[in-house]
Structures are given as structure tokens and as C-alpha cells.
Amino acid sequence: MNDMTPDREERSANLKGMGCSRKRVEDARFTQGKGNYVDDIKLPGMLHGDFVRSPYAHAKVVSVNKEAALALPGVVAVLTAEDLAPLNLHWMPTLAGDKQMVLADGKVLFQGQEVAFVVASDRYIAADAVELVEVEYEELPVITDPFESLKSDVVLRPDLDGQTEGAHGPRKHHNHIFTWEQGDEAGTNQVLDNAEVVAEETMYYHRTHPCPLETCGSVASMDKVNGKLTLWGTFQAPHVVRTVASLLSGIEEHNIRVVSPDIGGGFGNKVGVYPGYVCSIVASIVTGVPVKWVEDRMENLMSTAFARDYHMTGKISATKEGKITGLHCHVTADHGGFDACADPTKFPAGFMNICTGSYDIPVAYLAVDGVYTNKAPGGVSYRCSFRVTEAVYFIERMIEVLAIELDMDAAELRRINFIKKEQFPYTAALGWEYDSGDYHTAWDKALKTVDYDGLRKEQAERVEAFKRGETRKLMGIGLTFFTEIVGAGPVKNCDILGMGMFDSCEIRIHPTGSAIARLGTISQGQGHATTFAQILASEIGISADSITIEEGDTDTAPYGLGTYGSRSTPVAGAATAMAGRKIRAKAQMIAAYLLEVHDDDVEFDIDRFVVKGAPEKFKTMKEIAYAAYNQAIPGIEPGLEAVSYYDPPNMTYPFGAYVCVMDIDVDTGVPEIRRFYALDDCGTRINPMIIEGQIHGGLTEALAVALGQEIAYDDIGNVKTGTLMDFFLPTAWEVPNYETDYTVTPSPHHPIGAKGVGESPHVGGVPCFSNAVQDAFRAFGLRHTNMPHDHWRIWQTANKLGLHE
């Protein structure tokens, strides 16, 4: 069957299946302005909601006076915690096992917190009314530093008073949330105490924000006649929202329909459940008409879903030759006023325990302390699997610091410590079982392509020229080798609010041989409608062009946990392949009946079943589909449909080798990216065009985070970066062209061997950009400096190193 005759080649190409750069089916509507995003939804009689938000980071709410607002023509309602309390909706559970105020219940814990919800006939009147709501606050001491918080007498969360036990074990202090420990503490300490070389470093991975171009929003419509609630919104996990909405509101789940329409980017921002969603639902129930809530950019940056904010301390030990012997990591995690981190239940610090990276480290220990402060809640995975960016940044910086300690080349240090190909499946010191990898091949390919030795030679010459006063530009070579852990995940250890993290696909083949497939995931730009059809085309022999992919409507799609953490291809993609195989199994029986042979005497061939040894006798999938609906076949039910709920046996572990070459002007602090080479191994490649697009995008979000993007607060908790004037989103002008490359190491446990790719470039890109900046100054004694490396901070680094003298 492997000899591809021209006929078979053509039939195979017509399928537009896996491996081809199929053009996207989504693009027709988006290029013509016919996308349907949540703010495009307009229903008869629809009202607009807007929030009164706290200007203070920590204050008592003494009173809320709605009178003037209610008197404004067009204002229909003003909701406060008092109004929500009888419904028990003034607080809501968070994904992290904490609870969060929907509307301020006596106090506020961060600037921008939701205090009252105004409902009016249009957005301008709602905004006017927000100004008319009089709130009396009594300021309280503000804590924006987690270390200070753990020492402070100020109780941020009096509602938890006396609770010494949280969702993740004992609480050590009234502002402490949890301690999460992984690995062998005693064993690690013993190795570190007796090591030939130990490198220590403290680093802060700053707070930032996913900032998709579309902000969060929802439209709730309570149909009181039929008792049905429909909720459209920016949901990366619509089924989870339906279940949460049911639990919160008491409306039975079958009476709730949640729809994620087109989503204008998510990157983790749209995983959580926000007060705006709850308030739009309550307001629609109260008013009996549809209510829309859409946050503006400032509200988005101030209140929904920060990312990172990890203070990390590491110790790494090695032999004098550079063989790593142990790793110790402690994290103080700033979770803000409520613990609303979006992680699987059993993982309060996500998969931070992938922090041993791509290296064969015999013993390791990780401890994470979660802490409350007067900052916004969130803690989402911004373009990464749960806290994987933090983990990879940590280990890739520790490797660089160890290289400095050993006076060794950082590329060679990585190479001698990589997990070897023959060690897979590899069980890491902190417990994860890496499915497959070939790190040495990828690393060697990357270093050879960029002429690594030549770059180091050029860099050394540049340093000499700089010292002679011939140039003011230094050269940095950023290296990163990352291993991700994505595709959450096995139901045995991964759940969100108790719901196992499987995913699903349901396929219906129509009588004329076209099909519709529905999934539990939801695209936010990843091109699912294009790529999932390709998986199916290869599995069931129907052209991708004849397959509709539909997601995001809980009334029609099978239950799934949604799209984040690069889980769509690893989990829903697997479900798609498995459902396709069920279709194929039934098709085989139908084909055998039609061809009057035994089931075992036919075999699948691209788009048909053929009689073994007699390929001229066949039935195409189109013929089989028709027969499934119009022929009475003994022992076989009519129809051709299948559904698969896929519980993955393991995570998948994509990896990659990145190199960034940068020139830095020490007098202006401006970095110029000369070259960025990204080799990714995401296992089986479904659509190379889309993979490359994902890599360009993820690298650009990495550039942003490494080189300037942050959510910063002043000492009294004011957000200093609340608009795009201060919050850095790179434009075409700041962004380089990237070179992409790949190796293919399929996942052994995934039905098609795919591992997921959307987040790899961000996870690998952040340390690579940061390492490039820091490497430029290595020759002048820099060991570590924190991100974001904006021009001012780079200039300061140069200045501290005496390079301006």
C-alpha cells in the first residue's frame, strides 16, 4: 500500500489531510468583517451593564448610594452586593478553590475591584450612571509585596479569619494561601551541601497580562417564559462556564445554553469566570431582558487575569565538569486579593514542577508559597500550559548562571545534561513522565544552522572592539532549550472544579458523504475549523473541504474542558482521531457487506475500502455513507455517527531549541534583534502553515514580556500600566522576522503522535530573549538581572556595570 501511484497520490492530495498547509476556512468571514464576536451581538431590548470600580487598592466600603444614578433617565438597575446576597451570588467560587467577591462585600482588595453594576439602556448612559453612584470608602493599609504581606498584621481576608486550612493544606499566616511541595527536600539539600559547585540566584518573573485584542464580555438572555438562560461570552471553556453558571444560579444545567462566538484572542485571559459574567446573568434575570457587559481595555488590564508574578529562588549543583547533580527551587507567588489562579485542582502552582527542564537531574525539590496582596486576582497561564513559562524561565536562567559559575559555554553545559533519547519515557525527579524526545539532535541542528561557534567568535571580537572604544554596541547570544508539558490531562490527576480534563468529538457523516464534527474545545484564532477537519480527513477518507467543524455551543457540542494549555490537539485532537476510527470501523463493516466479503477481507485505502489483493473492487467513503442511510444491512444500525470522549493517558512534552542574536546599544539601552531561530518539535505536524503562524505569534508575545510588558503597581496599589500607552504590545515596527525549523518526534501515546504547539514559542521565547540581553553583558560581569528588559532597565544595567564611564 505504500507505493503511491499517481492515482493514489491525487486521491490523497484531494483529502487535504494531515501534513498539508491547507488554507484556513475561517478566513473568508474574518477578512470581510463578518466575524461574530460577543460585542457584535445585538438583541431586541438589550441593556448595557457597566461597573463602578474601586479607586482604592484596600478599603472598607462604608456605603453605596444609588439614588442619583437610578434617577438618571435610561438607568434600569444598580446592583450591589446587598442585592446579590439574597441569591447567594455576592461571592463566587474561584477555579483555585478560593472564593471571590462578585461585588464588593464590605471591602475592596484591589484597585479596579467591582463595587456596583449599573444597567442602562445604552453604554453611554451606563457610563454616566457609574459616575453618579456615590461610594464612601475608608482607606486601609495597602500591601503590594508578598514578602511584606507574610509579615504584616494587616488581615487582607477577614472572611477567612480562623481558617488555618485552605484548599491546598495548612495556611501559615493570615495572608498565606498555601504551600505546595514537590520532590525530595532532604535528598536535594544533602546533594547541594556536598556539591563541588553550587550556583544560587534569585529572580522575579514580573506580573504581566495576556491582553488579547478583544477584551472580555458577555451577553446574558434569560427567557422567563421557557425558563432558559442563554449566555454568549468570551469563554475559553464554555462547558465549564455552563456548569459553574448552573451551580451558582440554581438553574438546571439543561436550561442553560452557553455560546462562545468568535473569540478575538484568548491567551489565558478568557479561562476564568469573572464578576461581569455573573452580573450580566443576574441583571438579565432581574430585568427580564438581555444584558450585555463588555469591559474596556483599562478594566481588562486592571481586573481580569494577570499572569506570572513569581519570586523565584534557585540553587543548582554540579560537578566541576558541569554534570548537574541537584536542583532546589522556592517560589513566593503573588496571587493578589483572591486566589483565582486557573490551574487543575491538584496543582496550585500549575506544572511549575516541570522546572527540571530538559535535563537529567537526579534529585530536585520545589516549594511554592501562595500569598494574598492588594493586587488583582488572576494567575492565568498566558500563552503557556499552567505555570510552564515560569518553570522554563527559571531553569533556563539557572543554567546560564551555572555556566557563569563554571566558566563554561552555556550551549555545551546544556548538551552534557540533556536527557538522552534512549532514556525516554523518562521520569523526572519531580515526577513527570516525559513521553518522547530527541534533544541532542534538535540542539545540534539549531547550533549548526546559526553557526554557533562563529557567533561566539564574533561576540568575543565585539567585546574587544568595545573595550578599545571602537563600538558602543554589545552582542548577546540568547540560548534556550525548553520542554513543555501540555495537553492536560489525565482525568486521574487533572480536573477543574471536579470535572476531569478529558475532551471530546462527535461526528455525523451525512448521506451524501460530507460531515459535521463538533468538539468540546473552542478556537480563539488557532484555526481549529481547518486543522481538525484535516485530522478527520486522514482518518475517515472524506475531504477536509467536505467537513464542517463546530465548537463553542454547549447545546450542540459534546462536553469538553475547552481550549488553553495547548490541550486542543493533544486531547480534543486525539478524541477526533478516535471518533474517526469508530466511523471507519463501522464503514468497514458496511463496505464488506456491499462487496460481499468478510469484514477482515477489506482494508482502508485513503478514501475507500478495497478488497485485499483486489484493489479494483472497492467502495468509496461516499458510497459507504450513502449505504449507511439507505440500505437495510443485517446486524448494523442505520446511520454513520460516532462520539469519543478521550482521557489522555499522559501529557505530551513538546520541546524546542531557540537561538536569538541581539545587538545592544549601551548608551540608549535599545536592543536590536538580528536573528531569531526557532526549532520546534511538536510531534506529528498537522498543518505546517498554521504551526509557523503560531510560532511567529508566540515569539512576539514572548518578545513583549521579555522586553517591556508588565503590570506594575505603585506603593499604594495604583495600577501604573492600565492602558496601551504604558502596557507594551509590540507593533510591526518592533518585531523581527523569525526563522522556523523543526524536528519530528511523535508522541508515543497520542493516536496521531501530535503534541501541541501554540504555546511552545512563548514558553521558549521568553527565556531566549532574556538570555540574549543578559548574555551581552556576561563579559562585563553580569550574572542576572530581572525582566522586563525595557530600554531604561537595559541602560541601567550598562550603567551599573560601569559601561558609561
Binding site: 484556513r24 477578512t31 453611554y124 485584542l213 473569540i263 478575538g264 491567551f267 511567529h696 508566540g698
Partner: protein
């Protein structure tokens, strides 16, 4: 709140008349009064360009202009560029070169790019990157957007040459 004004616009070749408060932003008038939802609101501060329209021949961020200021203007939005059976070269090119992902910035991007290519029919890569710097995309990293625009420019120029 203040008295409403009588506004007249020509949008995508069609005359439109409606009442609006002078403080109403052009983007909301387009989206909510005229149901032209191609232009989007992304930032409120003129940075992202998702709301870009062409107004009297110039690229304008419609989130930073009052509808009153636009009174009498001729406006083209993404809905007025190409038709389902006759896409604009740029629309085809964005599809061909994977110049979009979530699609939220795309209407603004393409609307701006039509003007960019009128202003400079043979731009260099640097010209495109500079000329598009008022439009933010969070998904693509711009590489394929730049590629799409350069390919469209070259196609338009080839077609012109063939016609001459």
C-alpha cells in the same frame, strides 16, 4: 447628555442619516447605530487600530473621533472593501499567506493596508512595517501580515503593468 445632532454620512457608498449625541464616538455610531460591526474596539486609546476606517480618503481610528466631527464624511469600512464573490487583492492575500488568526484586528489591518498601498504602491518591507505600526495584532507576530501586504502590492502592480 446633550441634544442630539442630525448626522449624515456616506458609508461604503450608501447615504446614512441618524440622530446622535455629539459626544458619541464614530466607532459606536458605526457599530451600534448602523450595524457595521467589522471595525472593532480594542483599546480606547488609539493604539491598536482595530477600529480603523477610511474617512475622506485617510486612515482614521474611529474610536478617537466624535461622530459629530465626521458629519458629512465619506467613510469606507472593511464591509466596503471587496465582495464575497470579488474579494479585494488584500483580502485574498491575507488568506493566502496566513496573515490572520483570531481575526479581530483583521478588518482594521486590511482597511489600513488599502490606504498604505494607495499612499505607496511599491513599499519596501520597512515601509510596510512602519506604515502598519498603528495597527496591533496579538496573534500573528506580523511576519505573515507583512508578507500578505507585500504580495498584494506586487500583484496589484503586475496587474497594472499587464493592463498598460
Amino acid at each position: 447628555m446633550s441634544d442630539k445632532m442630525h448626522i449624515k454620512l456616506t458609508v461604503n457608498g450608501e447615504p446614512k442619516e441618524f440622530l446622535a449625541e455629539p459626544r458619541e464616538l464614530l466607532i459606536y455610531a458605526l457599530r451600534e447605530k448602523l450595524d457595521i460591526t467589522g471595525p472593532h474596539v480594542g483599546c480606547d486609546t488609539s493604539h491598536c487600530g482595530a477600529c480603523t476606517v477610511t474617512l475622506n480618503g485617510k486612515s482614521v481610528k474611529s474610536c478617537t473621533m466624535f461622530v459629530a466631527q465626521a458629519n458629512g464624511a465619506e467613510i469606507t469600512t472593511i464591509e466596503g472593501i471587496g465582495a464575497p464573490d470579488a474579494l479585494h487583492v488584500l483580502q485574498e492575500s491575507f488568506k493566502e499567506h496566513h496573515g490572520l488568526q483570531c481575526g479581530f484586528c483583521t478588518p482594521g489591518m486590511i482597511t489600513r493596508a488599502t490606504k498604505l498601498l494607495e499612499e505607496n504602491p511599491s513599499p519596501s518591507e520597512e515601509d510596510v512595517r512602519f506604515g502598519m505600526a498603528g495597527n496591533i495584532c496579538r496573534c500573528t507576530g506580523y511576519q505573515n501580515i507583512v508578507k500578505s501586504i507585500l504580495a498584494a502590492a506586487s500583484e496589484i502592480n503586475s496587474a497594472k503593468e499587464a493592463a498598460e
